[in-house]
């Protein structure tokens, strides 16, 4: 029997899944990286938005979907990234690239510090605290006028550059954001299927995990919650920094609870079970937003702002009713090989 165990190194199905995933990943990357060729600026701008939202949403999917935790205040971390990048480059003469990475590091540190206290809490109270964090961030940024420019925000943040290109160039920016998004996707997929990834899934009580069972096999549950919180904060920070260097103007209102709610919505609609869901969620919501912005003024007259929010609410309710696992579940159902695997077992 022992000899037998040595021969079989991997479960064939597992290898098949991994191979298929690599193929899908390669196709996805190729399609995304060829889109800009021949595209006009408008769709590219929308795609950049989708890319930025996807990055934040992906972090949130790792936190909410993989580990079953919650954050209703993630805009604060996006804001941290944006503001730290902005402050470092405009006040302390940092180059944009080191600023981006340093911002991610500092934001991660802040998340680790907060997380240590926060994850002693559970459920609704935890959700409430994350929401409160977002409000604290907003008021902090608004009041530290010397550093952040207060409600006026910061201007003239230098763009990221690589050789002759800068992120003021739409094409460059498109590639920049989407390459970051794809790299983070690979990171997330790798992580999900690894020792720490399994530990995170084990403590996800909403998806069938058990904190008690995870603990008695040696998983330090609080530590893992904090780490995945840090991870999602770092993703948010990267998106925030990229956003700051791209728009070159930031103001506190951008990083309010609305943004937190929106990315949470994207994570839920896209599908919490896989980092791929981030693209579906962000794509759908941003796409709908563009559609509503164009159609609502025509249909009802006036500005679209409040109608947009109503529309998001309706989408969320419908989505939760009809596809609680998110869009990703529809994609999964459509993939015939996956079904075959399930039937076998």
């Amino acid at each position: 029997m022992l000899a037998n165990t040595r021969v079989i190194k991997e479960i064939p199905k597992r290898v098949a899944t991994a191979k298929r995933q690599n193929l899908v990943l390669a196709l996805f990357a190729i399609v995304l990286l060829t889109i800009p060729l021949g595209a006009s600026p408008y769709p590219l701008t929308v795609m950049v938005d989708i890319g930025l939202y996807s990055i934040i949403t992906m972090g949130l999917i790792m936190l909410m979907g993989l580990a079953g935790q919650i954050s209703l205040g993630h805009a604060a971390f996006v804001g941290c990234g944006a503001y730290i990048s902005g402050i470092l480059t405009t006040k302390y003469d940092f180059d944009p690239w080191p600023a981006l990475f340093l911002a991610a590091l500092i934001t991660g540190g802040i998340a680790a510090f907060i997380g240590r206290f926060m994850f002693k809490l559970h459920g609704l109270i935890l959700a409430g605290v994350t929401l409160a964090l977002n409000l604290v961030f907003y008021h902090l940024v608004s009041s530290l006028i010397d550093l952040t420019g207060g409600a006026m925000g910061m201007m003239s943040i230098p763009p990221l550059s690589l050789g002759p290109f800068t992120s003021q160039n739409l094409f460059f920016n498109y590639y920049l954001i989407w390459i970051i998004a794809i790299l983070l996707l690979i990171f997330s997929l790798n992580l999900s299927d690894s020792r720490p990834g399994r530990a995170l899934r084990a403590l996800n009580v909403h998806a069938g995990g058990s904190e008690d069972a995870a603990q008695v096999v040696g998983v330090d549950v609080t530590k893992y919650k904090v780490w995945v919180f840090v991870l999602s904060a770092v993703y948010a920070s990267l998106a925030g920094s990229a956003y700051a260097h791209y728009t070159r103007i930031i103001e506190p209102g951008t990083f309010m609870v609305q943004l937190s709610a929106m990315v949470a919505l994207m994570a839920i609609i896209g599908g919490r079970s896989s980092p791929w869901g981030a693209f579906l969620g962000a794509g759908l919501i941003v796409g709908l937003r563009q559609l509503l912005r164009e159609s609502i003024p025509v249909l009802v007259g006036g500005l679209s702002g409040s109608y947009e929010l109503i529309a998001y609410g309706i989408i969320l309710v419908v989505a939760l009713l009809f596809m609680p696992q998110g869009l990703i579940s529809i994609v999964r159902r459509a993939a015939p090989r996956k079904r075959a695997v399930l039937d076998e077992s």
């Binding site: 690894s194 899934r201 058990s210 603990q215 008695v216 695997v341």
Partner: protein, 283 residues
């Protein structure tokens, strides 16, 4: 009930093992442990010790505080009073992952398999302590993460082979029978590489051939040096495998001894093996 007790002697495995060892090395020592939930006292100054390589069986009617005691030992529940020592180290106040790292693992009565993972992944989580791969090296899939992943996988498959569920490796746990799920839970607990195994009613809900299989496994583990603490209310099966038996009743230890001694103990027969037994499900 008399019939049950008579049957005990005929059950499984050589007598030699059953009566091996007494106080040579105390792996686990529980002294004066008390616990209450609000006004309800669940454990009253319970003391006992388990020698290395022994199988201690703790019996008592439902609600006697057995499961609570196991959860206190592993650190899942805080204790109000008393001390617990493991390998000469005081472990009360430790978190469950710390006691796990010291070498205590537990199989819950309701198993609590991770339903969002395959069978082999469940056992791979059990190997958590065998590796150190962190977020960064896993996300970047560095060479050392791949090596770790491979060895975790092989270790998990080995545990699955031990319980005879290799071919179920990529199934979801929900597709397995209750008995098979118990075995997966056992494999997951064993994967931690622990020295003390806490089994909470491992026999509940098992079919008779599954009971035999579990007994066989438990003996195999004992012969490899594992120390096992079993909590049960099915007395007849357990008397055959116990090196030592403790009887709890309403949170109090009312008897302790070898299986034979316990069978003859008047107080046990009155308090526990009397009317209560009829109410126990499935026994």
């Amino acid at each position: 009930m008399k019939a049950n007790l008579a049957g005990i002697r005929t059950v499984i495995m050589p007598r030699r093992r059953r009566e091996r060892s007494t106080d040579d090395t105390r792996l686990l020592e529980v002294s004066n442990v008390s616990k209450s939930f609000g006004v309800l006292t669940v454990l009253k100054k319970v003391s006992f010790s388990v020698a290395r390589g022994n199988i201690l069986v703790m019996i008592g009617p439902n609600g006697a505080g057995k499961s609570t005691l196991l959860k206190i030992i592993s650190g899942l529940l805080p204790l109000a009073e008393g001390e617990i020592w493991f390998k000469g180290q005081k472990i009360n106040g430790m978190t469950p992952h710390q006691t796990a790292a010291l070498g205590i693992s537990q199989l819950f009565q309701d198993i609590q398999l991770f339903r969002n993972m395959t069978v082999v992944e469940n056992v791979m989580v059990g190997c958590h302590l065998q590796a150190k791969t962190d977020f960064m090296s896993s996300g970047l899939r560095l060479a050392r993460a791949r090596v770790d992943e491979q060895s975790i996988f092989e270790a998990a498959m080995k545990q699955l082979s031990l319980v005879g569920l290799r071919e179920k490796a990529s199934s979801p746990p929900g597709s397995l029978s209750w008995g098979q799920q118990k075995l997966v839970g056992l494999a997951r607990a064993l994967a931690t590489g622990s020295e003390l195994l806490l089994l909470d009613e491992p026999y509940s809900g098992l079919l008779s051939d599954e009971v035999d299989k579990l007994n066989q496994l438990i003996f195999e583990l004992q012969s490899q040096g594992m120390t096992i603490l079993i909590v049960e209310h099915l007395t007849d099966i357990l008397m055959g495998i116990a090196s030592q038996v403790i009887v709890l009743d309403y949170g109090e230890k009312i008897a302790e001894g070898t299986p034979i001694e316990i069978q003859k103990n008047k107080r046990v027969i009155d308090a526990y093996l009397g009317g209560e037994q009829l109410e126990d499900e499935g026994s």
